[in-house]
C-alpha cells in the first residue's frame, strides 16, 4: 500500500496565479491613485466630511420640501420613466421581430442588430446632453433620452426571447399557407409576449432610477431638486428629497418585481427556480448575460 503514503499534490500554478493576481491588483491601485490627487489628509478627512454632512441631514425637512412640490417632482420622474418605457417598447417590438435570426432574413437582421448595439452604447445622460438644446430643458428631453436608450436594450432582450422559441407553431402556420405576418402574429407572438412584457416592466424599474438622475442636468424630474438643495447646502431639504426618492424607487421595484414574477411563473411558485445570481444580475442592471 504505497499509494496512501503519497500525499496529493496541489494543482500546478495555483500559487503563481495568486501572486500574479495580487501584483496586478496592487499595480492597478497605485496607478489609479496616482491620477486622483489623493493626499493622506484628504483621504483621512473624507469620512469626517461625509459624516458632517450626514449629521446635518438629520432630521430631514419633509414639510418644507413637500410644500415646494418635491413629491410632484418624484412622480414626474416616474412619468418620464413610464413614457420612456412605452416609447421604447412600442418602437422596439417590431424591430425585434426583424432582428431575430430564426424569423428574419440576414439582410435586415444585421443592420437592425447593429442599430440596437449602437443605441445601447450611448448612456441616457449623454443622449440627454445632446437632446436638451434641441427640445429645450424639461421632462420631454429626458423622456426622449430614456425612450431612445430603451429601444436598444428592449430590442436586444426581445430579440433574444424570440430566438429561443419553439419553432413548431411557425411550421404549423406555414404549412397552412400563412404568410410571414400571420406566422409572427399567431406562432411567435403568443410564445414571447409574457417574457417580453416582463422585460418592459423590468426596464421601467431601471428607467425610474435613470430618470431621477436625468434631472441633475435639467432633463426633468427629481434630480434638479436634489442638485439645487445641495448647491445651497440645504442638507435637511436634500435628505428629504432623497428619502422621497428612495421610498418611491423601492416601492416601484418591489411591486414591479412581484408582477414580473407572476407574469413569468403564472402565479405558482416553481421548485426549479432559475439561477438566482443570473436573475439578480439582470434585476439590478438591465444587462442579461
Amino acid at each position: 500500500m504505497t499509494a496512501t503514503t503519497q500525499r496529493p499534490t496541489p494543482p500546478r500554478g495555483a500559487r503563481e496565479r495568486r501572486g500574479a493576481l495580487a501584483v496586478v491588483l496592487v499595480v492597478a491601485m497605485v496607478w489609479s491613485l496616482s491620477g486622483l490627487e489623493v493626499t493622506l489628509d484628504r483621504l483621512l478627512g473624507a469620512p469626517g466630511d461625509a459624516w458632517a454632512i450626514l449629521r446635518q441631514m438629520v432630521p430631514p425637512a419633509f414639510a418644507r420640501v413637500y410644500e415646494r412640490g418635491a413629491v410632484g417632482k418624484v412622480f414626474e420622474s416616474v412619468y418620464i420613466a413610464w413614457i420612456g418605457t412605452v416609447i421604447g417598447a412600442v418602437l422596439s417590438l417590431p424591430l425585434a421581430f426583424m432582428a431575430a435570426h430564426n424569423v428574419a432574413p440576414v439582410w435586415i437582421r444585421v443592420p437592425i442588430r447593429q442599430f440596437f448595439n449602437a443605441i445601447r452604447a450611448v448612456p441616457e445622460l449623454i443622449l440627454a446632453v445632446i437632446l436638451i438644446p434641441i427640445t429645450g430643458l424639461g421632462p420631454w428631453a429626458g423622456t426622449l433620452a430614456i425612450g431612445i436608450h430603451s429601444i436598444g436594450t428592449l430590442g436586444k432582450w426581445a430579440t433574444e426571447s424570440i430566438e429561443s422559441i419553439d419553432s413548431g407553431p411557425i411550421e404549423a402556420v406555414e404549412s397552412t399557407g400563412g404568410r410571414w405576418v400571420s406566422s409572427m402574429r399567431w406562432a411567435v407572438f403568443p410564445q414571447v409576449m409574457s417574457t417580453i412584457s416582463s422585460y418592459w416592466l423590468f426596464r421601467f424599474e431601471i428607467n425610474v432610477r435613470a430618470s431621477a438622475v436625468l434631472g441633475m442636468i435639467g432633463a426633468g424630474g427629481v434630480g434638479s431638486e436634489l442638485v439645487s438643495h445641495l448647491v445651497f447646502r440645504d442638507f435637511p431639504a436634500a435628505s428629504a428629497v432623497l428619502v422621497f426618492t428612495i421610498a418611491v424607487v423601492l416601492t416601484i421595484d418591489t411591486a414591479s418585481a412581484a408582477v414580473r414574477r407572476r407574469i413569468i411563473r403564472g402565479g405558482v411558485g416553481r421548485p426549479d427556480e432559475p439561477s438566482r445570481s443570473g436573475e439578480a444580475l439582470a434585476d439590478l442592471t438591465g444587462i442579461r448575460l
Partner: protein, 240 residues
C-alpha cells in the same frame, strides 16, 4: 394602464411632432465635421479619459473588497447571526435605491469637486451592486463543505473561509469584472455633476455648444470602452 400612460404623457409634455421637427433643427449642423485634431490632442480627451479609468479601477477594487465580508453577512448560509443579516440587508437595500449620480453629487458636496469625490461615489455604488450579486451567489452555493467545516468544530470565520469561499470565488471574480464594466460606463458620466473624468470635458464643451467636439469625444470613448468590455467579457467567460 392606457389611462395612466395618457396622463403621464401629458405630464411630460409628449409631443409627437418633435419626432419630425428634431431632424430639421439647425443645431444638427453643429455636430459636423468632427475636429479630429482637437479630439486626438492628448490633453483634451485622452488625459481625462485615463482619469475616468483610474476612478473606475480604484472604486472597483475598493468596493469589491468591502463587498466580500458584507456579502457573507448578507447570505442566510454564512451570516454570523440574525441581527447582522437583517441590518446589512436593510442598509444595502437603501444604498442601492440611491442612483449612482446622486451619490456622486453628495460626495462632490462633501469632499469637493473632482475625481476624488467620483471615486468615493463609485466605490459605494460598486459595493451596493457587488453585495447584491455576490450574496445571491452565496445563497445558491452548495452548503455541504460549510456544514462539514462546522460539524468538524470550526469557528464561524474559518468555516466560511475554507468551506464557502473556495466554492464561490470564481463567481466573485466574474462579478467583480462585471462591476468593473459597469463602473467604466458610470465613470464616463460622473463628470457631468462635477465628479471628475471625461464627463467634465463633455460638460464644458456642451456649454460652448461645441457638439462637434462632443461627437468626436464620444467616438473615442466608445472605441476604448468597447475594447475594455470585450476583454472583460472574454475573461469572464473563461472564469464561469
Amino acid at each position: 394602464m392606457i389611462a395612466f400612460s395618457l396622463f403621464a404623457a401629458r405630464e411630460v409634455g409628449f409631443d409627437p411632432s418633435t419626432f419630425w421637427e428634431v431632424w430639421s433643427n439647425p443645431l444638427w449642423e453643429k455636430f459636423w465635421p468632427i475636429p479630429w485634431d482637437w479630439v486626438t490632442d492628448g490633453s483634451n480627451v485622452m488625459g481625462p479619459l485615463i482619469e475616468t479609468f483610474q476612478i473606475a479601477t480604484i472604486s472597483t477594487i475598493l468596493g469589491c473588497s468591502l463587498a466580500l465580508p458584507v456579502s457573507f453577512a448578507m447570505s442566510s448560509l454564512t451570516t454570523p447571526n440574525r441581527p447582522t443579516y437583517l441590518v446589512s440587508r436593510a442598509v444595502m437595500n437603501v444604498v442601492r435605491a440611491v442612483p449612482d449620480l446622486f451619490w456622486a453629487k453628495l460626495m462632490v458636496t462633501a469632499v469637493g469637486i473632482g475625481a476624488f469625490a467620483g471615486s468615493w461615489a463609485l466605490t459605494i455604488f460598486s459595493l451596493a451592486v457587488m453585495v447584491k450579486l455576490f450574496s445571491e451567489t452565496v445563497d445558491g452555493a452548495d452548503p455541504g463543505p460549510l456544514e462539514a467545516a462546522r460539524a468538524a468544530g470550526g469557528r464561524h470565520t474559518p468555516s466560511v473561509r475554507t468551506g464557502m469561499l473556495p466554492t464561490v470565488f470564481p463567481d466573485y471574480v466574474a462579478h467583480a469584472l462585471y462591476v468593473f464594466e459597469l463602473n467604466i460606463r458610470a465613470s464616463i458620466v460622473l463628470g457631468l455633476v462635477g465628479a471628475g473624468g471625461i464627463g467634465r470635458v463633455i460638460e464644458a464643451q456642451r456649454q460652448f455648444f461645441r457638439f462637434d467636439r462632443i461627437l468626436g469625444m464620444l467616438v473615442i470613448i466608445f472605441v476604448v470602452v468597447f475594447m475594455i468590455e470585450q476583454a472583460s467579457v472574454a475573461l469572464r467567460k473563461r472564469l464561469v
